[in-house]
Subunit: 206 residues, 2 copies
């Protein structure tokens, strides 16, 4: 999540691989899961690790900057599941269907198993944090790659602009893959999410 160019990434500061950075993130994750993002302060984290608040600020510009790392991890895991399923599927149709199904599943699982982490992810999508914007860029790129492959193989139609097709697929799936929206649609998973996935696949017919 953190490159060596940490300074430029969503409020990250100082050396990227410093042990303290990892300690802060670990403590923050535990606190956020237990008490929630809103109720945790940077002072709480400093106290938990036994360092000063000022020392934490050497690595993170703000509480949000710590939240970004944790949110990036949660959303990254969802994206990673998508990537793994896509890698093991044979055809572009199967890649898209299974990839989207998996995103719905893992987002739903995050809600039920790690609700506080889910809430940070939803908050991140609401506030358009860097971590969520990066996530949606990755998802869009994955979808675009699959559509592109499907066009080359003659499985998908080619008349619509590739970027429009990809964007509209990700958009139509938002009720089920965006944590901000999914929490209101849990009773529709997986029946109606699968129906929308099938609608998307029909829209791709050559």
């Amino acid at each position: 999540m953190i490159s060596s160019n940490a300074e430029t990434e969503a409020g990250q500061r100082g050396p990227a691989d410093h042990a303290i950075r990892e300690q802060v993130v670990t403590a923050a994750k535990a606190h956020f899961i237990r008490y929630g993002y809103a109720k945790t302060t940077v002072s709480d984290l400093a106290e938990a690790i036994g360092i000063s608040k000022a020392y934490i600020y050497k690595f993170f510009e703000s509480k949000q900057a710590i939240g970004e790392v944790i949110c990036g991890g949660a959303l990254g895991a969802i994206d990673q599941g998508f990537a793994e399923v896509v890698a093991s599927a044979r055809t572009p149709t199967e890649k898209l269907r299974k990839g989207l199904e998996t995103m719905v599943e893992s987002s739903t699982k995050l809600f039920f198993s790690e609700r506080k982490l889910y809430d940070i992810a939803a908050h991140s999508c609401l506030e358009k944090w860097r971590s969520s914007n990066d996530h949606w860029d990755r998802v869009l790129q994955r979808v675009s790659d699959i559509v592109s492959e499907g066009r080359k193989k003659g499985e998908f139609e080619r008349k619509t602009a590739l970027d429009e097709t990809s964007r509209s697929i990700v958009q139509a799936m938002q009720p089920f893959i965006n944590p901000l929206h999914l929490q209101h649609n849990l009773d529709l998973v997986p029946t109606q999410s699968n129906e929308v996935i099938r609608l998307i696949l029909r829209s791709l017919a050559p």
Copy 2:
């Protein structure tokens, strides 16, 4: 919104066409628009009209029952706009495209022109009030009628079950026609909503 069988409809009581009922709804609408649904009490309304709280409760079971009528009116206007556009369009494809575009437009307009009414509509969708459930039933029925007509005329594919097709269309449009979700997607209207509408139309190709 209120039938003569008022007793059975979402907390409505007593005679349907009583003048007091209308006075309460008018006062409530004015209060909700000015102060918001949450901050208005039944006492406020009683005081504004100059009657007792008990008298209001002869007509409405609760504040929500009054909210249902007002929300039903706001959502009903959106549905009405949909119906009018559909009536004047020539082909099923045009009916669906223009009908959905109009729903997006009128929902967006409600947000910017009558924000407090919009908030009640969003709340109603969140809490699955009767007024919003009825609204979604009507929207689904309209979409189903258009798809059915398009199938008969050979414009739309017939392999998928009609109810699945209709449901998935309404579902894919939720980010742009459901007040609960639209408020987070206003910057995507109309470019991305139109892209999703075109995706839906491609999915209907025979």
